[in-house]
Amino acid sequence: MLTVFFIMLLGVGLGYVFGRRLSWVRHGVLPLIGLLLFLLGVEVGGDDCIMSSWSTIGIDAIVITLAATGGSVAAAWLLWLMIYRKETRRRREEELR
């Protein structure tokens, strides 16, 4: 899978060098995503094992989503508290002066 990774890095280099001259590529992204998701769907639809385990897949997806989003929110909340406390302290010090 390193191929995909290096192709992306090649793209970053091309984008950096040619900049706006390659801005038309963004129009190709959505059709490519559509095609790939269609093909993923074909694979899923043709796989009896996946089709018979939709409930398990759904529950797994819900649990992972809630935990991943919750983890991000909790970490962001801690950062917010740190910044908020720092700002409050700075304002108090300014008021005391």
Binding site: L14, I33, G41, I64, T69, G71
Partner: protein, 199 residues
């Protein structure tokens, strides 16, 4: 939202076609998928590389807030490992899905290609849900967990689809941070997903 529905529509039509058995040669599907994936990654890379406005935006932000993308990614990875253990899956399965961070199209395709269609489908559902959660619960997140919470919840989508909601509820003051956060997380997704799929 229209784009999300359109993308979801492609997946649903694909399931119907797969069920009907019209396109049944997995070798041809695999080759076409891989070629399209390479082309997509090249396009994504070009878009990332050509965006030179980010540096200017970063300079105007409070220094400590620049750690927000790290918090988002770290928190998501920690939560994903716990979730994977809870549903009796491999920790790397959870990490691969969780590191999609709302970038449902690319992450599900990469995971589908590297770890199979089942985990790819979980990634698609999971990362669409992440975007929907942010759109629906942004006001509550701001109220109870601060202005950074909806930005963290939005993950890779905070520079585009969830930006209007974040601006409205977290305040226009954090727009630049939201864009910066979206760009950094967006850029990290293909690397993280590929990494967790291959370990």
């Amino acid at each position: 939202m229209k784009t999300t529905l359109g993308i979801l529509g492609c997946f649903v039509v694909g399931i119907a076609v797969g069920r009907w058995g019209a396109l049944s040669d997995p070798v041809i599907i695999g080759h076409v998928s891989f070629a399209a994936l390479c082309l997509l990654m090249l396009c994504v890379g070009i878009m990332v590389g050509s965006d030179k406005t980010m540096l200017r935006q970063i300079r105007s932000l409070p220094r400590l807030s620049l750690w927000l993308p790290v918090c988002t990614i770290g928190g998501a990875l920690a939560g994903s490992v716990l979730a994977a253990l809870l549903v009796h899956r491999l920790p790397t399965d959870g990490l691969a899905v969780g590191s999609g961070l709302g970038y449902y199209s690319l992450s599900s395709l990469l995971i589908g290609d590297l770890r199979g269609a089942e985990l790819g489908t979980i990634a698609l559902i999971s990362n669409i849900m992440r975007e929907v959660i942010t759109l629906l619960f942004a006001p509550l997140l701001v109220r109870y967990c601060g202005a950074f919470a909806p930005i963290a919840a939005g993950g890779a989508t905070t520079a585009d689809t969830t930006l209007p909601v974040i601006m409205q509820y977290a305040g226009a003051r954090w727009t630049t941070l939201s864009v910066f956060h979206g760009c950094v997380v967006d850029f990290s997704v293909p690397f993280l997903v590929t990494f967790f799929c291959t370990v």
